[in-house]
Amino acid sequence: MSETQDNVLSSLKAAANAAHSAFLAASAINPGKAKPLWADSISATNAYLTALNATLGGDPQDIKNARDALDKATQRINDSLGTLKNVSTAIQIVAKLIELITGVMKFFA
């Protein structure tokens, strides 16, 4: 977001807050006066939300890139762990196979 956009948003947010505070103050003292101030508060907040929504439009490429990088890192880590586990699993399988062969040998001896 550019500095200008930031400044515009800050101003709009300040205006929304001021309108909102005016409405709340009026609702405590004079509910009759609060009615138009409620509409003002909604309008001012909508102006801020509209501007904010506009800055957020479009696909955030930086977020997409970061997520892609994280997904790849996660996959690589899972692959590393998988490889380490496969090493001991493979050795166990060979050990079991030799046990099996030994058992068969003894049977036929």
């Binding site: 009615k35 409620w38 990088a69 001991s88």
Partner: protein
């Protein structure tokens, strides 16, 4: 006819001197690798600790950045109540407001999803750092040697020499450990680079995240404030909050007393407490967000240290994350006796 295995030594059993020499060479090799593996076990421990910290930080940051769906719904319900009270002139604007809120929440959630991905990466790294590859391989090889010797005995052959059968599982365990620590260090470096990108993105969207959440937080309290001011809530809990430490209890007819014309100023004063607490809660939004960024920056530094084999300052990371968790917890329970809605 029994199978005859190929012997390791082509010309019968080795001499005593040859065996002793082989054992000395193997022991030297093991000592060097054991020293390296000793450093590696710190890598695994540090990797596990960083992963745990990272998981907590990414989850806490997401809570700090985004309003929950319940909070958005609560605000909409509050708006509907106020719209009924203060006239339907603002109906088209209210419809626009709800549409904008939904759109902004969706866009911010899309951006906050990077924190979920970060959490998943940390979960994977925790699994890798927590896995005792060395023990698994050592145990497997010890079983293999035992099976092989049982086979050799059944085949009336010499067993595997003890200098090999004793040291091979140990050496293999050390080698696997070194491979594991290398993977963790490399991954740590990768995560440090990605964290840089995540931090930059979260800095870029800071005012959007904070701005929206502040609006949701400050305006959510409107219905409750107005209903309290109109006398629909008991003042006793607040009175007891003030008086409790001194042994005072609100009288049974406190709500009747506060409604008397001469006590209007007391009602107004008690109503202002809610407004003040709401402002405290609003202030926590930016505090939590900035503490999240600080935690991510500290994590990045520690990942770089882990990659380079430097000393880690994990206490700094844990302190930063502890602060963040405290702030997030304070935000969720900013009012004593607050319900789960409006978080």
């Amino acid at each position: 006819m029994p199978l005859h295995p190929t012997s390791l030594y082509t010309a019968g059993r080795p001499s005593l001197a040859e065996t002793r020499e082989a054992v000395i060479r193997v022991v030297r090799c093991i000592l060097v690798m054991a020293l390296a593996a000793g450093c590696a076990s710190k890598t695994l421990t540090s990797g596990a600790a960083l992963s745990t910290a990272g998981k907590v930080a990414s989850s806490a940051m997401k809570q700090a950045a985004i309003s929950s769906p319940d909070a958005i719904q609560y605000l909409k319900d509050s708006d509907r109540l106020l719209s009924s009270l203060y006239g339907n002139a603002a109906q088209p604007q209210l419809k626009q407001r709800f549409a904008l809120m939904d759109s902004i929440q969706k866009e911010l959630s899309l951006r906050a999803a990077v924190l979920e991905s970060l959490g998943e990466t940390y979960s994977a790294l925790l699994d890798l750092a927590s896995y005792d590859a060395s023990a698994a391989v050592t145990t497997s090889l010890t079983s293999l040697v035992a099976s092989a010797n049982a086979y050799l005995k059944a085949a009336n052959s010499n067993p595997i020499p003890t200098d090999v059968s004793g040291s091979a599982p140990l050496v293999a365990g050390i080698v696997v450990n070194l491979v594991q620590q290398h993977d963790i260090r490399e991954t740590s470096g990768e995560i440090a680079t990605i964290l840089d990108a995540v931090i930059q993105a979260m800095e870029k969207y800071r005012s959007s995240f904070i701005g929206f959440k502040e609006i949701v937080t400050s305006q959510s309290a409107d219905s409750a404030t107005i209903l309290f001011g109109a006398g629909f809530y008991s003042v006793s809990p607040l009175l007891n909050y003030y008086g409790g430490p001194y042994g005072y209890v609100a009288v049974a007819d406190a709500d009747k007393r506060i409604a008397l014309p001469q006590n209007q100023r007391f009602r107004a004063a008690l109503t202002s407490i809610g407004a003040g607490r709401t402002q405290d809660r609003v202030a926590l939004v930016s505090t939590a967000y900035d503490q999240s960024l600080s935690a991510l920056r500290k994590l990045k530094i520690e990942h770089e240290a882990l990659q380079n084999g430097g000393t880690l300052q994990l206490s700094d990371v844990f302190a930063a994350i502890g602060e963040l968790q405290d702030t997030v917890a304070k935000f969720r329970t900013a009012f004593s006796g607050q319900t789960s809605a409006g978080k």
